[in-house]
Symmetry: C2
Subunit: 450 residues, 2 copies
């Protein structure tokens, strides 16, 4: 006998969990749809050549690789086999891997389908991704991303759209304590110039990305050790303070930065995003410490988190000027965001935001004998033809067993049919939530349920 | 530069294809839901021990195996490495595989979650599966199955439910020329006894499974070569003729079979399914040649196909008495069916059954300058707040370019805003399907669109 078990870091989703996850996914889908995004899907497996080298060296080791079919050792690298060099052997015994995110597959999709796509192309994509990360609380080896991107325009209307989308998604989910933070890569570059640290730009971003974890003292120490002049630390600290995203903050930052092309572009674009947005009620802040995978983003950068929750960011995004370049389509600018479904789920569970009524309303027909059961079949079919979910208890068991099942399986309604009810053309209808029970005629059953 | 390409046998789905696939999936989901089935999902990866040995020897070779992470060669079977024995090496360098179907993961799920499940458990599951099959027309390496199963009851009401479900799914999809065929494993066993061939039962089912391909002459030849008495061939042929599924056919078959326990059970169960069903308008036939993976099914067997289509069966299913036994949960009977999403899609495309209106209704705001564009942003937000999908053309391009984009991207409506419209508080609204254009006030825009 085999033990039923799952690979670590992976999960099953029960009907109750599915109903909650679907509530989140449906909310995100409907908001994306309102803004004209349309769904695409790409395969779970990509060629390893598509994935390798796109996520840094660590990313390459976290890719799940699929063993080639058939006699895969026939073409295996003999030297790598002899020296038992696992890393070097991979490319000769595996040519496919599981997708690691939705962004690289999307770039591949756009290039491969460029003649059929009319740009600007607005797509959303909600699918699982896989990473061979060490599983831990809130981190899974199979998890879901919910991406939306506009590709083929440099218009900052898109950035304004995404700010709106954040607001609509979070408030619809009941996550009213959300905070969106915005930054601009060019402003960050202007900061580096202002503190005369532009030659160590990567050191700067690596350090400030740790602000959350090691605090300002830690960041200062690290930057001083990398050669940043102590007199510039104070200036940097002022600039990196999270502030409201509005005209006066932008003016103030503008005045603190030395003149350079990056400042001109960055400040002007932030102003334009502001002009395109109606920020009333929207919780957004300007956070010049936001760096997030800068190799990748070239313009605005977004991150969102939920206050009072133990989990960090639930979404990130930004503008990238050359995502499709690696696959041969140059000079196509895009901007996008991605929600982490599993993190949203964990936070909503933690904050007790799921209503129990998310599951389908459904009715169970209960009976005392085969005659009653047959009668129920007819009634159930009539309900289904009116679009109401109903199930006839399939076995001949005691009525309390049937009620027990209704309770455990989340049936809101139970209709009991015995000989009296058959003669009277009625059912005993019980609302399992309120406990209220009444005899209703078969003809008015649909009405009584709605 | 890298070429953008996909692993063979896998596909991207564009927004247009997604809209069509979602139409099929949503139809199946809503019918499953009407009958009280609830969704679960299981991970793409399962432990190889869960999958291996469940699909026959060929199945094992068709499983996609995932290379262990890290220094996987460290624990590799040294003998297998030395002899370059690909097959033998697998278990030491791979402990996970991609799921091959949804049935085995479901059995694993039920056993693993048995304490939380209340039986009978009605679940549906719509997810991709992966098989390293040789790709060919209509056969993919990643494809979708849409399964529903009831587990934990022997009641034949479930079989009657599935017959109803077939009818509702096919007619809702517009596949009115469907045909469901039903058989019963025990009747097939009684046939083997009747023609005195019970000791070669597997040979019998293997041969009759080929009836579609090699015809009756081929089947006879094969069975005679396996030792079937020629005088019984005619008897078998009569029994295996497809007939209406009704009381008189069942009586007639009953009279042709020799008495045995299998006959008693099989005939009685078919009669009971008939009694539970309202077969008016339902296209169902009794096909005693239907064998489908008999190792697995123990009671009723189903198969469905669409007439006038070049593709074989689009769904199969049946009752199994001991699916969860391999994982240690004995004596739990279940019954289920599975639709092949990709086959349904291919057939509906072939029969031209997709309506072009499946995609979301959406409106594009077009403009002549930045002033008009800004005005459009406000109008678009108002529409979105009323639940209408709208997009502001993000760039400042010539109006015919904007119309061109609207056409290619499937916008049903275009609203043009120039200086006159701003002054008049109106838009020029064009229906891109009819070509009709009129000036409507901003306040009545929502009304005009619905």
């Amino acid at each position: 006998m085999q033990k039923a078990s799952l690979p670590k870091g992976t999960r099953d989703f029960s009907p109750q969990v599915m109903a909650r996850r679907n509530f989140i996914v449906d909310t995100i889908k409907s908001v994306y749809t309102l803004y004209g995004f349309e769904p695409i899907e790409t395969p779970a497996m990509e060629n390893l050549s598509t994935l390798t080298g796109k996520y840094g060296q660590e990313g390459d080791t976290l890719l799940f690789k699929i063993l080639n079919s058939g006699d895969y050792l026939k073409k295996a690298d003999q030297d790598a086999l002899n020296t038992k060099d696992s890393n070097r052997l991979i490319s000769s015994i595996s040519d496919k891997g599981l997708r690691y995110d939705l962004t690289v597959p999307f770039a591949r999709y756009v290039v491969q389908n460029q003649t059929e796509i009319s740009f600007p192309f607005r797509r959303y994509q909600i699918q699982p991704v896989w990473r061979a990360d060490r599983p831990q609380k809130g981190r899974y080896r199979e998890f879901w991303q919910c991406d939306a991107d506009v590709i083929g325009t440099i218009s900052l209307i898109c950035e304004a759209d995404f700010i709106d989308i954040y607001h609509k998604v979070f408030t619809t989910l009941g996550l009213t304590n959300y905070q969106v933070r915005i930054n601009h890569r060019k402003v960050l570059e202007a900061i580096a110039k202002t503190i005369r640290f532009e030659s160590s730009f990567t050191d700067l971003t690596i350090a400030i990305d740790k602000l959350d974890k090691i605090g300002w003292d830690g960041v200062s120490k690290e930057l001083i050790s990398k050669g940043l002049d102590a007199s510039n630390i104070a200036k940097l600290k002022t600039l990196l303070t999270v502030q409201p995203f509005n005209e006066s903050t932008i003016n103030q930052i503008e005045s603190q930065l030395i003149d350079c092309p990056e400042k001109t572009t960055g400040i002007q674009e932030l102003r334009q995003v502001l002009a395109y947005s109606n920020l009333q009620n929207i919780h957004i802040a300007l956070d010049l410490s936001l760096a997030r995978g800068l190799d990748y983003y070239t313009g605005c950068i977004f991150e969102a988190n939920i206050e009072d929750s133990p989990i960090g960011s639930v979404s990130g995004g930004g503008r990238y000027d050359d995502l499709t370049g690696i696959f041969g389509l140059k000079d196509v600018s895009g901007v996008g965001i991605s929600f982490g479904l599993d993190r949203l789920y964990d936070i909503m569970l933690h904050l007790d935001l799921f209503k129990e009524s998310i599951q389908q309303t459904k009715l169970l027909f209960c009976h005392f004998d085969s005659k009653g059961q047959s009668h129920c079949l007819t009634l159930a079919n009539a309900l289904r033809n009116s679009g109401l979910t109903s199930v006839v208890y399939p076995d001949n068991k005691k009525i309390n067993k049937q009620f027990d099942y209704a309770n455990k399986s989340g049936f809101k309604w139970v209709a009991v049919v015995g000989d009296n009810e058959i003669s009277n053309h009625t059912v005993q209808l019980k609302n399992m939530e309120t406990g209220k029970q009444e005899e209703v005629s078969q003809d008015s059953l649909i009405e009584a349920l709605s």
